[in-house]
Symmetry: C2
């Protein structure tokens, strides 16, 4: 690790300098040579070099990608206009508060009657620390961020078929899983069964390591006692004065734990996307979209449903109607177009692009996802169960309960995420087929198996099934390796005067960071085209 | 798990009811039968039943234990007075802000010149979620709490002797450690070497489990690729549009990792005390002490150095002098005494208690600890390295660097914990023997090995060595099993009219929760004595 500080270079200013001088490739080389594994593909400030000479650009969609594109291109001298389907900025960056309402594609309207200050994010809800692009815009927009609790050792793991359907604490599952595998590996090691793998001098080290990390006793066994309870929790924890205890807790038998699916939950917090530290905007994820919309006041035209996109040698003409009232089509013309409409919707809009981009647009399926927000009379998960934020997982269809990372210890009503179903498969489609009321009922029914307080404490709820959201018809682009190989480059390439952007044009599916990086990459390439035009 | 909600009982109200009816032992039985492993020995509200008939109590020390005792006994009808050595409430609950100064036992005064709003906690700094006692008083006192980041996957692990002294990210150490042990165990399993341990039907499950959790490839090997980089991070992470990458990162060779001490760091966040979710008071830990002091306005007499404690059949007489100016001794008399003076100090004060308590007082050594707070010009750990809160560990004497869990993304100066040395052994004593300036210099020197920005960004610092703090002469009671067996019950027993309280009278060494639970337990037993007197 070189001492850049002494050279009066911060790492970022150095990288920016390299980026300006040598472009992106040079910058990546430099990052690697500095001995850091990169946290992000983002580097600020983005600079579109050269004079756009007042060229105009029409941007379709005032989601994160569209607003990033608009902001940066306006800064570079472009005349910018955004057409947006909704009557608010943000797109999937969206929080529902008291008084809001939402109408799905079937015409069902839900009116949100949460308590004041309570909210629910139907879309994105967490910002990993390495998503430096979206974090940059939060800072720029002065959107205050607070800690998002992803992993909480006191949160629960539940399987209907394991341990009589009784939920276990994450700390118990983690400690017992790691303890049991440590014991197994210690046995194999001490009984010389891994002598083909481990040098003689390595063996003692491995045993000591497993003993410490796994909580094994002096015989390298994972047994009930203070050592294991210090990881998994006590029946009666160490107290003060002459209080009773400590009394250690029973461990889960290895076979029963391994045969359950509970250990699956240990996988989630290990993933790059979900590793701490994470953040959330104070007051709801939608605060980013709101602030961005304010910054772009006058640039965004709301309630526009795009019906046709046509490019020729002179520019791009977009036809649209009022998304609420219909009426006579209007047109808007510009030199260039950044199109962030989700391709689930875009595939239904006539647009004269080449066959490759068309094939890409028509080939990408969208991830189904349902989220249910439930408001309860009080924070029973905190008051009764001492769970402050974090995620509980179950093998029931609701999959994921998430406790609010804000308002800890407050009295009065609070909203939690009562279901988050986002994996593909019939389970999600079945759930999506339910009405909003049925989805809320299912979240209550299944959640009650984990939190028996649910029924008595429930007040109100809201459910959003993303395949039924009129302006996205799905949660996010659902790439797999084969699709990516065949269509991704064509999806992202500039087609004459049109470039697509959004999370579907990124490798960060369903993440706002994908939208940001896609937009920055798309406008950088479009700008090059403009400069050489 | 019974459905108490349907019976209109919250768990807590039920426990309180049981506690009131049947006392503590009945309550513990009830907690266990409800199928929960307890999170805490605390249950609120504490109720001292029966009329104290205006009995008076003198409490020595306005730390957390003393103030809890004063508040609860006053509520139960006692006449209460606290004598406190310092000119502020809180004791070890203490935050240093700009303008504060601290003088150690050698007479060296440090003046704190942090930027406005910045602070450093020389004493306690984190509140685990299961410390329900201290959390209860935070709520009661309206001390706002915010998330404390204990474990951050992006924080660093450093060993001078490993990997050329280059720090590694926690995520890299965790992924590679868990990957390598998974591969070893998968090998032993698939090569039938654990057939005496694992049933035939268990083996496939174990292999699948290790593959998922360990990030193994289809041959059950831990190899460089997308799967492992999804845990440990990429050299170039997945990006947007046609950005380069992803490029997976190299994994650390097993032998080099296992032979290093880096895996030790994985032990810390596994411990019950350090498991998430954790909290900190907004504005510094000292906010609790301040708020408690305000609540007890008029009860606490500051600047009192106790010089003699004498009990007889009529009461307890405490002699004290002004802790700053000395002067003529004064006395204060009460019916009963709750004595929270750390026994490191108390052992030097004449007090007529029985030989058992005396032996206990004279036998308990105190844990040494040094903390160094460093203010830098900017949050380079966030801006350059994307570390937002959490702890870095090194095998250098400074041991622990901790990044602030508040003020994320702010511009301007910020304070981090530059050293936290609390294990016993010569390393701590050697560090304690340095002057404050030398301690700060050592923190800078060693910290520079991890963060090369240190020297260029440093502004000012403060160092507190707890064996030199005049009013504690150490960080906390340092019990071991043998000492606990011999002296703990005697330390905690009521000696005629005197009972001791504080973290040293608890099984939660150096934790404020120990002070709270000790105080509650001590006054409950003292009150019984009063009622039967």
């Amino acid at each position: 690790m070189k001492d850049f500080a002494n050279e009066k270079w911060t790492r970022r200013s150095l990288l920016t300098a390299i980026g300006l001088a040598g472009g992106t490739a040079a910058m990546y080389d430099a990052m690697l040579s500095m001995g850091y594994a990169a946290n992000s593909d983002f580097s600020d400030p983005i600079t579109l070099q050269g004079d756009a000479k007042g060229a105009s650009v029409i941007i379709l969609g005032a989601g994160i990608a569209g607003m990033v594109a608009a902001y940066e291109m306006r800064k570079a001298g472009y005349k910018v206009k955004i057409l947006e389907f909704n009557n608010r900025p943000g797109g999937r960056n969206w929080s529902l508060h008291a008084g809001d309402s939402y109408t799905d594609i079937g015409g069902t309207t839900q009116k949100v009657d949460f308590a004041p200050g309570q909210y629910f994010n139907p879309g994105p809800w967490r910002l990993p620390y390495h998503h430096q692009g979206i974090l940059h815009y939060c800072k720029m927009l002065n959107v205050p961020l607070e800690s998002f609790v992803m992993y909480n050792n006191a949160a629960l793991v539940h399987s209907a078929g394991a341990f009589g359907g009784k939920p276990k604490r994450f700390r118990e599952v983690a400690a017992d899983y790691e303890g049991h595998i440590s014991e197994l590996l210690a046995k194999a090691t001490s009984q010389n069964k891994l002598d083909d793998q481990l040098d003689k001098d390595e063996k003692d080290g491995v045993l000591q390591m497993l003993k410490t990390w796994g909580g094994l006793d002096k015989n390298y066994e994972y047994r009930k006692g203070d050592q294991t309870s210090d990881f998994r929790g006590y029946d009666i924890p160490p107290g003060g004065g002459l209080m009773p205890g400590p009394v250690p807790s029973d461990i889960m038998p290895r076979k029963e734990l391994f045969n359950s699916s509970l250990w699956n939950a240990l996988y989630f917090p290990k993933q790059w996307d979900f590793q701490g530290q994470l953040f959330q905007p104070k007051g709801g994820m939608g605060e980013i979209g709101k602030a961005f919309g304010k910054l772009l006041d006058g640039v965004i035209q709301y309630d526009c449903k795009v019906t046709n996109i046509r490019q020729d040698e002179t520019g791009v003409t977009v036809t649209y109607i009022n998304s609420k009232t219909g009426g006579a089509p209007k047109t808007e013309k510009a030199d260039w177009c950044v199109n962030t409409i989700p391709v689930s919707v875009l595939s239904q809009i006539p647009m004269n692009v080449g066959p490759k981009m068309r094939a890409a647009i028509d080939s990408l399926p969208y991830l189904p996802a349902v989220k249910v927000g439930l408001q309860f009379k009080r924070r029973f998960w905190e008051e009764d169960d001492n769970i402050y934020g974090g995620n509980t997982y179950t093998d029931q269809p609701i999959f994921n309960i998430s406790y609010p990372s804000h308002g800890f210890f407050e009295k009065g009503p609070a909203v939690l995420l009562g279901a988050y179903i986002y994996r593909s498969g019939m389970r999600v489609y079945n759930f999506e087929a339910l009405s909003a009321q049925e989805q809320i009922e299912a979240a209550l029914e299944q959640g009650s198996k984990i939190h028996p307080q649910y029924r008595a404490e429930f007040m109100t709820g809201v459910a959003v099934a993303w395949h039924r959201v009129p302006w996205t018809l799905g949660c996010s682009g659902l790439w797999n390796d084969a699709l990516r190989e065949k269509h991704y480059a064509d999806m992202c390439a500039v087609d004459n005067r049109i470039v697509l952007a959004g999370e579907h044009c990124s490798r960060l599916m369903a993440w706002q960071e994908g939208s940001v990086l896609s937009a920055l990459d798309a406008i950088t390439r479009l700008h090059k085209r403009v400069m050489s035009a």
